[in-house]
Amino acid sequence: MTQASLRRWLWVHKWASLVCTSFLLVICITGLPLVFRDEIGDWLDDSLPYASAPDGTANVSLDRLAATARQMYPGEIIGSIFVDDDEPKVMVAMAPSWVAYNADRKSAHWIKFDANTGKVLKQSKSFSGDGRSFLDVMLSLHRDLFVGLPGELFMGLMALLFVAAIVSGVVVYAPFMRRLDFGTVRRDRSPRRTWLDLHNLLGIVTVAWTLVVGITGVINELSTPLFALWQMTDVKAMLAPLGDKPVPAESELSSPQAAYDTARAALPGMVATSVVFPGSPFGSPYHYLIWTKGQQPLTSRLFSPVLVDARTGALVSVVSMPWYLRTLEVSRPLHFGDYGGLPLKIIWALLDLVTIAVLGSGLYLWLRREVGFGTGRVHAHAPQTNSAAT
């Protein structure tokens, strides 16, 4: 590598890192509890316990749960019903009306039912009245800094800079290591030199993981625009032949349980996880949209929506997802680390801590920088000539 190109790479490494480091520290620190979001969520959950039921007990009909929900909140609409495939629970999401929900998503609320008995286990207040849970705060700090889409795009950009910092870090690793064995940490002269060696070692050993989590983080931050793109293209084309029929009134709706069963029959081997009611901004104006997924670790992350006519209950189509949403779906587990049991989550947390150490040591190295770093007087063995740390 020429001195000029090394200087350029050092410049990229310095500035990409400096710009993103403080945000990445927020991301890494809030990511730590988010790795264990299921465990923490269960622990903080104050729902009534599930009734004990033998394995294979049939779920209560969704029709009955929908009727109970409507009795509890007369005049309100049901937005969706979520059927958990892990725990015996069914969540019914409601809102005062679609108009109210579209104007303010926080007008929604939910009821949690025991899937085996139909008993109400917990109810949210409206989201605005419920306050933010600890995990909501962590997720917002991690994903969008409480400002929605602009925050998502900004944090996605920071993640992109992080990826640039990693790639440039790998490039400048080579000249720094020309005269050192892999894994060398010199503790004899200045603390800065020790931290430089630690920064290089921690960074290069975890580089594949940080790259994967960084790139999948960028992709996850694009989920809002990617879903919007899908709605504006494929979904619009799919619904266009149906014209401008009004959203069916509650009295016109066919049975949600029957729609759920129709979807399951259309895709044997898949698990149906939720029924989105017609009128939802996340569904279709005329159909029940039933989300189904596979049962293997990978396929359980790949969802296929099934459309069922909400008036007649007839199967309309199994929608195929475009490649960019498939990419998004695959990038979720690789970012969250939630696909290999608790030990994988612990590994994720440890690697996250190593990343924090790399970020922190990088910041320290910059604060204690020698005159010349990235400014033109860089030698391939710069780390060794380091007595004049400022």
Partner: protein
């Protein structure tokens, strides 16, 4: 690459041999848990534990080295 030809210089291949091996093990570990449950998960924990164990070994080794250090410059 620079024209510097000091005898102790390592080639790119030497510099990146260990990092590349660790990266391949990491990617294998990330994919193993996606491939299946049970044994696949265990394989993934072992594979992803290797870079972490590498860090523990090298950081603790350096802590026990003599003040003259391992720097050979």
């Amino acid at each position: 690459m620079t024209a510097d030809k000091a005898p102790s210089r390592r080639t790119l291949r030497q510099v990146f041999a260990a990092p590349l091996a660790l990266a391949l093990v990491t990617v294998a570990g990330l994919l193993a848990a996606l491939a299946g449950d049970g044994a696949w998960d265990a394989l993934s924990w072992i594979a992803l534990g290797i870079p972490l164990a590498t860090l523990v070994v090298f950081v603790s080794l350096s802590g026990r080295s003599s003040p003259s250090g391992q720097g050979n410059h």
